[in-house]
Symmetry: C2
């Protein structure tokens, strides 16, 4: 058995005790009539969390990447044009998966650490020759950079040009405002293990009526209409659903709605702002400009003199705290700190700041001493 980690990386987050307990409920079959109300409650709670009336809303039996692939397979026919708002690792992955399934992919880019500008999307959509884009995809919180994208504005531009809107809410759902219906998002997916604080292994997804029935995708496992026949009122056999994860997902969703979405978003903002204040008081620099920072993932530049891997290893070995390094061009340049779901707690902010200060001090890295915690507390 491994040590009990304080999970402050970009996912998975810590599990609330109610969710852990749900994993050990007794096993039942996927066609057990007593399981069906559990499926229905899970779907209904998911709609509440996505803030949608969409009928087709369910958790896919796979991780966030399965959600990404399912959403693309649902939204983009091979040969159609997909515009990806691209400013990080996960937007790149979206583009890669879309290419594999045969889409023509066009990117609107921004440097890693900045958001894609809706004005750039608009310019590109106006200038593009040939048939228009059938879909515009954007990542709400880019997990590799900590940028919170202006989804509402990007979606408005896309719609104005007749394109459908596909949003990756893996690192935002239940942690930052993502009202699917209000923002007129056509398809939205997430992962279980971030702001929902369920175990990794399920991918909530919701798609609206106008995207449905356009074609049959080249997949069986990720075919949303077939999945809906099981999760919806028919409960027709599709595959053996991971029962333990369904229980855990339901428990996690109940906790989200018991806390209330507004209170939960406010908690994420409050704790993350406290973290920013503390890190900056230590003399560290944040990667993202304040207006574009996510309330769920913070990226901080690694200070001069600090060894990326060594600092993270010491946090893990000496304090049992997980944070993450950078990806791609940001590898070795930033640390990524997640305060998501059950991990977003003030005591974890204080634990991390104290541990980081102690490690940096003993590594001889120049950083202000003692200021971080005072500033963190004052900032709340």
């Amino acid at each position: 058995m491994l040590g009990e980690r304080v999970l402050l990386g970009p996912g998975p987050s810590l599990l609330p005790p109610e969710v852990s307990a749900a994993l050990s409920e007794p096993m039942v079959g996927h066609m057990d009539p007593d399981l069906f109300p559990v499926l229905e409650e899970t779907v209904s709670l998911l709609r509440d969390v996505f803030q949608t009336e969409n009928e087709l809303t369910l958790p896919i039996s796979g991780t966030g990447h399965a959600g990404m692939e399912a959403a693309l397979l649902h939204m983009v026919k091979p040969g159609e044009r997909l515009v990806v708002c691209s400013a990080g690792f996960f937007a790149d992955r979206l583009a890669e998966i879309a290419r594999r399934i045969g889409a023509e992919v066009i990117r609107v880019e921004a440097p890693w650490g900045k958001p894609v500008d809706p004005a750039d999307l608009e310019k590109m959509l106006k200038a593009a020759s040939g048939p228009g884009a059938s879909c515009v995809a954007a990542v709400h919180v880019e997990t590799s950079t900590g940028v919170l994208h202006p989804i509402r504005d990007l979606a408005r531009v896309a719609r104005a040009h007749g394109a459908m809107v596909l949003v990756d809410a893996v690192a935002s759902l239940a942690g930052a405002e993502t009202p699917v219906d209000n923002w007129e998002i056509d398809a939205c997916y997430s992962g279980s293990q971030k702001c929902l604080s369920a175990p990794p292994g399920m991918a909530p997804i919701s798609v609206n009526a106008r995207t449905r029935g356009r074609f049959s995708p080249a997949t069986y496992y990720l075919d949303l209409e077939l999945l809906w026949k099981y999760w919806g009122s028919g409960h027709a056999y599709h595959h053996t659903v991971p029962v333990q994860f369904v229980y855990a997902m339901r428990a996690a969703l109940r906790l989200v709605m018991d806390e209330g979405l507004a209170a939960r978003f406010e908690r994420h903002w409050r704790n993350t702002r406290a973290l920013w204040a503390g890190l900056q008081a230590m003399g560290l620099e944040l990667l993202v400009d304040e207006p574009h920072r996510s309330p769920t993932i913070t990226t901080v530049r690694i200070p001069d003199g600090a060894d990326d891997a060594k600092v993270r290893t010491r946090l893990l070995r000496e304090y049992n705290i997980e944070i993450a390094g950078g990806l791609g061009p940001l590898r070795g340049k930033i640390w990524r700190i997640g305060l998501m779901g059950h991990s977003s707690q003030m005591r974890h902010v204080l634990t991390l700041l104290s541990a980081l200060e102690a490690v940096l001090a003993s590594e001889g890295v120049k950083a202000a001493r003692g200021a971080a915690i005072a500033q963190t507390v004052a900032s709340r």
Copy 2:
């Protein structure tokens, strides 16, 4: 919380306590260095259970259907010809998924309840015009009928005609002899929740060297080479692996190898034969002729005068026992009883026989009384 079921359907099976306990081990990240030895041990144990030296052996983060789709995507390029040995629901699904990914599918058929005859496969492969079949797919235990296919012979015929061999071992792996290397199977997949008695949600798969590197499949989530970069020695990030399921899978695999494959197969045969003896002593008729019966799933004809749904509902409500009905053309005609993994225990055989006798008696169905248990015990 639902009642504690005695799971005697065609999956999921009961979880051993060691596997349930593994689900509540503390959460760690998918890139935690302490998790890597767990991944490596899981892969190594999986190779033992598949009886293979194949390097690329891992559990996919999805259910058995994800394994089916991944195997097909790995083995069959769009446009290539796939022969499916077709005699039940799951062979049909294999054909359906293959068609969706663009394969040309040809079937060699047998009636539901019989196995596909290797001689028929041979005739078809000889007679087929145009380019030869690149791959022959067969279902080892057809979960919808309880037939155990002669995989060794089917594979020999396929190889003799230059075709690769793809085997569905969802309802056989760790319950019936499936030696991948000895039978020269090129790709083999299974599910976690049947004879392995891990929770549903993972799909073990193993592919050999000659099938690798032929092309890049049109999927990211199920791309085995990319998955291997995470599960293999590199541990490069691909997706957030469901950590709890990895723990549970490792615990289940350890139990399989602690028992020993030979002893485990013998246990499955012994308990299933006892079930056959008991059912027949009650006057019930088995669907499959004895030489073709599976040691993991038994199919029994519903006796005259018995109401399919009513009997199953009474077993569930009055005795907390799950068995399953028939699929497709066998709906309403048979019951399917699984004795798989941890569910394959003599006490469960006796419980089911007594409960079934009691229910049939109170429904006024004509069946021998009291003989089943004596015959079951005598048969061991």
